[in-house]
Symmetry: D2
Subunit: 122 residues, 4 copies
C-alpha cells in the first residue's frame, strides 16, 4: 500500500464536484413543489450552488413529469427529479459531473475531467 498525501488539482476538482452534488441533493429533497413553482426552485438551487467555492457552472432541471399531485395538489422534490450538471475548477483542472436518474436511482457521476495547459512563454 502506498500513500499519496498530496492530491492533484484534478482530484481536488473531482472532490469539490462530489461535495456540491451531495450537498444540494440533501438540502432540497422534501421541498414542496409543483410544475408552476419548479422554475423558481431550479433558479434558487442554481443561485445557492454557484456561491460555493470552486463552482464554475451549475444547471438544474427538475423533472416535471414526476411532479404528480397529491390530494392537496402539490408534490415533493425527490431524488429522481434531479437532472443536474456541475462544473468545478481547481487551478487549471476542471471536473464536469452529473446527478441524473439511472435505473431508478439518483446517480452521481463524473462525466469528464479536463486540464488547461498553462501558458508557456518561450
Amino acid at each position: 500500500m502506498r500513500g499519496i498525501l498530496v492530491t492533484s488539482d484534478r482530484e481536488q476538482a473531482v472532490f469539490e464536484a462530489g461535495i456540491k452534488l451531495g450537498a444540494l441533493y440533501h438540502q432540497w429533497v422534501g421541498t414542496p413543489i409543483s410544475r408552476h413553482s419548479a422554475a423558481s426552485i431550479e433558479a434558487a438551487i442554481e443561485k445557492a450552488v454557484i456561491l460555493q467555492p470552486f463552482v464554475e457552472e451549475i444547471t438544474v432541471k427538475l423533472d416535471r413529469s414526476l411532479m404528480t399531485e397529491n390530494r392537496f395538489g402539490y408534490s415533493e422534490l425527490c431524488g429522481l427529479m434531479y437532472d443536474v450538471e456541475i462544473v468545478t475548477r481547481v487551478g487549471f483542472s476542471y471536473c464536469r459531473a452529473r446527478l441524473v436518474p439511472e435505473k431508478g436511482y439518483p446517480f452521481m457521476s463524473v462525466v469528464e475531467c479536463n486540464e488547461i495547459s498553462g501558458i508557456s512563454y518561450h
Copy 2:
C-alpha cells in the same frame, strides 16, 4: 382532566400555521446564501409554502445584515435571518403567525386569529 376530542376550525388554522413555520425553518436552514441571491431564495420559499394546504398568504424576508461573508464570499441561511409571516385558513377561521428573531432566538408565535361570520339569510 377533560378531553376535547374535536378541534375547532380556529385551532386547526393555528395547528397548520405551526406546521408550515416549523417545516420551512428546517427545510431551508443551511442553504448557501448571499445578498445577491437572497431574493431568489425568498421567492422559492414563498412559492414552496403557498402550495401547501390551508396557506392563504406567506411573506418571507431574509435579513441581509446577517449575511456576513465567510472566506469564500458567502453565508448560510440561519434561523435568525428569517422574518416570515403566514396566514392560514380553515373554514371561516384565519390564523396569522410569525417567525422572527426575539432575544437571539428564532421565535414562532401566533399573531392573531380571526373568524369571518358566515353569511346569514333571513
Copy 3:
C-alpha cells in the same frame, strides 16, 4: 370579522405541536436508512424533538415495510414512513397530535386537547 389577539394556552399548545411535526418532517426526510439503522434514527429524532420547548412526549416509529432496498441496499426516509405522536404542554393545556400516513399522504392532525384544572384550595 373579529380579532382575538391573545391566544389561549390550548391554542398555544396546538401551535407548538404543529411546529414540532413540521420541523421534524423536513429535518429528517431524505436520510439514508435501512431496517438495521431505523432504531438509531428513531432514537435520534426523539432525542432531538424532546429538547424543544413545550414538548412533553414524543414517540417516533418508522415503517420498516417501506424501507425497500435500492440497488445499493438501502432506502431513504420518506414522509410516508413516519408514525409520530407528540404531546405538547403550555400552562395547564396539553395537545396530542400525530403524523401518520392517511390515503397516501403524510397527514398531521390534532388528536385531542386536554386541560388540567388548577388545584383549588378551599
Copy 4:
C-alpha cells in the same frame, strides 16, 4: 485542453468521499441538539452514512463546546460542530477525507489516497 473521459478508481473514491461529506453536512445541519443528545445524533449520522455505497468507515464527533444553550436550553447542529472522517473505497483505491473547522469555516478536504496493489501470481 485535453479530455480524460474515464476517471480512475482513485478519482472515483475521491468523488464519493465528497458526495458523502456534502450530503451529511446538509442533511443534519439545523437538528436540535444538546450535550446529552449529541452521542445519539453522532450514532445516527454514522449509521446513515455507512449505508451508502463505497463507504468503508465513518467517524462523527460533534463539538460539545459549541453546544451553548439558547434560552430554551438547547442548541442547533451547525457546520462548525462537525469533526468527521470518512474512508471510501472504489476497487483497490481508498480515499480518506475530513470535515473539520478551519479558520471558522467547516472545511472538507482529502487527507490521503491509497491504493492496494492487486495480488500478482507469477
